[in-house]
């Protein structure tokens, strides 16, 4: 039973990560920054519950808000770089965040032991759930409640003007601008929203597994985040969810037989899927992003 709970947990957290990249992909922004926002959410909410003994919900909210604040800041320079350059810039951002967590030390003594973030050793003992009597199943349910809420909101977004505007920007920035859309507003808003979702995911993840460190936040995870909406296609949110289930499902199954060949399989999987289904698993993602735009 615990095994399946672990699977649901992973899929849930990765779906949040994927959805945060999804909303950016709608506007045509390929972002590797989501894991950076994830890290900000993870560490800040962890600090609040562990060091300041906050309740989990305000801590998660703060983590998500802080992540969205940084996303807002990143959104502006992101406007200046197109396509593949944005990929590189966001990789650099995530790496900066990762290196900061590598150096981040904030420990206090509680009940005789030192708790908190310990630089390269990571942030251990994020034990809010266990200390407060949460069962694993309840934690996983909480994660999935958030996943469902985020998915519902993104699905609803497509039924109102905001969603159409996001996609218009992703389709053709020039035409969008010439139709009266303010690109800055839309793209920065998307980045901020994506940051919020990623920060939320980070906070949930940190508390669910009780330990995060800089290795959690590598480019590999950034790649997972963006590969879900690419594989799943941007037609709707379910594509991303499907992609998470597909990739994590295969990886987890493979893990059973092939131990730590995960990355080799992941790499191979992506190469194969991209060769045979370049437009994604679910449906077309037609917009091509290029460094020399238009």
């Amino acid at each position: 039973m615990d095994y399946y709970l672990g699977v649901f947990q992973t899929i849930g957290v990765h779906t949040l990560l994927g959805l945060s990249a999804y909303i950016l992909l709608l506007t045509g922004q390929v972002s590797m920054a989501q894991i950076g926002f994830f890290a900000i959410g993870a560490y800040s909410s962890g600090v609040l519950t562990v060091i300041f003994s906050w309740h989990i919900y305000p801590a998660l909210a703060f983590g998500a808000l802080l992540a969205s604040f940084f996303a807002f800041l990143v959104g502006f320079p992101a406007l200046r770089v197109k396509g593949l350059m944005l990929v590189i810039a966001t990789i650099a951002f995530s790496e900066i965040v990762r290196l900061i967590t590598f150096n981040f030390v904030w420990m206090v003594e509680k009940d005789g032991i030192m708790v908190g973030a310990d630089g390269a050793q990571g942030f251990r003992e994020i034990r809010y759930f266990t200390t407060n009597g949460w069962e694993s199943s309840q934690v996983v349910t909480l994660i999935w409640i958030f996943v469902v809420i985020v998915m519902a909101m993104l699905w609803w977004l497509d039924r109102v003007k905001a969603g159409a505007v996001l996609r218009a920007v992703g389709n053709d920035e020039l035409a969008a601008q010439s139709s009266g859309i303010n690109l800055t507003t839309v793209k920065v808003a998307a980045m901020t929203a994506g940051g919020f979702i990623a920060g939320l995911g980070g906070g949930l993840y940190a508390h669910a597994v009780s330990y995060v460190d800089h290795i959690t936040f590598t480019i590999l995870m950034a790649t997972f985040a963006i590969s879900y909406p690419i594989l799943g296609g941007t037609k709707n949110v379910f594509g991303t969810l499907l992609a998470v289930i597909f990739i994590q499902g295969i990886l987890i199954e493979a893990f059973r037989f092939l131990e730590d060949w995960r990355l080799i399989i992941f790499g191979l999987l992506i190469v194969l899927v991209m060769n045979f289904m370049p437009d994604g698993l679910v449906s077309a993602f037609k917009k091509s992003t290029s460094g020399k735009d238009k």
Binding site: A162, A164, V165, R167, S179
Partner: protein, 247 residues
């Protein structure tokens, strides 16, 4: 009454002088044609006025206000809109969504920010439907723009330009690729737009259309004005004939 005034407009790209000291004025409510051989700077003129490029020199005035250097979406806020030579619809959006995205509510009918972005409005929906009917697209409302026929796509582009409630519309070669029937329909639609009070700036190669609808025409060659006047006088102007046909 002058709605658009272009004053010594120049635009160069590196060594190429695309637009070279353009001067003209457009009056409210008229249909103004801009013609000229390929490469004469017609599209560049539209692109500069509509905010895609910054002028290298000179100014553009909309209703007396200088609009140099405004971004395209700011130009739309000021009451300008445009179509493109190569159709630039939002292919992954439906016909309805293409209009919705560009839609601006009437001044006396403004909805709140929230309602505009996240809400629904019966009035707005009826008005968008009317626009669809005007363009002959009401049966295609829920189809993806990329699935439309060429003629339908052109009509949608025009409708989208109208959706942002412009006072002045720039049409960049709207008749390109159209057959005679479609050109006739386009002509009728242009007249109906004028009757609604919209000023029209028409860049076109299809002489049938531009000569029939324009009140005045300006002729460009090598980025400079070589003739202006009503359609008849322009047609008879020797310098225009030279520009198009050579000596």
């Amino acid at each position: 009454m002058s709605i658009l005034k272009v004053d010594n407009l120049c635009k160069n790209f590196g060594g190429v002088q695309a637009v070279n000291g353009l001067n003209f004025e457009i009056n409210e409510g008229e249909i103004f044609g801009l013609i000229g051989p390929n490469g004469s700077g017609k599209s560049t003129t539209i692109n500069v006025i509509c905010g895609l490029y910054q002028p290298s020199e000179g100014s553009v005035f909309l209703n007396g206000k200088k609009i140099n250097g405004l971004k395209p979406n700011q130009c739309v806020d000021m009451g300008i809109s445009r179509t493109f030579q190569n159709i630039r619809l939002f292919g992954d959006l439906t016909v309805w969504q293409n209009l919705w995205v560009a839609w601006k509510d009437d001044k006396n009918n403004q909805s709140s920010w929230f309602s505009n972005w996240f809400g629904k409005s019966e009035t707005r929906e009826k008005l968008i439907s009317d626009l669809l009917k005007f363009s002959g697209l009401e049966t295609r409302a829920n189809d993806l723009a990329s699935n439309l026929s060429f003629g339908e796509q052109r009509r949608l582009e025009l409708a989208r330009a109208v959706a942002s409630k412009p006072k002045l519309i720039f049409l960049d070669e709207p008749a390109a690729g159209m057959n005679k029937e479609e050109v006739k329909e386009l002509r009728d639609r242009i007249f109906r737009l004028r009757d609604l009070g919209i000023t029209i700036f028409l860049v076109e190669h299809v002489m049938d259309l531009v000569m029939n609808v324009s009140n005045r025409i300006t002729v460009l060659n090598f980025g400079k004005v070589i003739s202006e006047g009503n359609p008849e006088s322009v047609q008879n102007d020797k310098s225009v004939q030279e520009a198009y046909f050579g000596q």
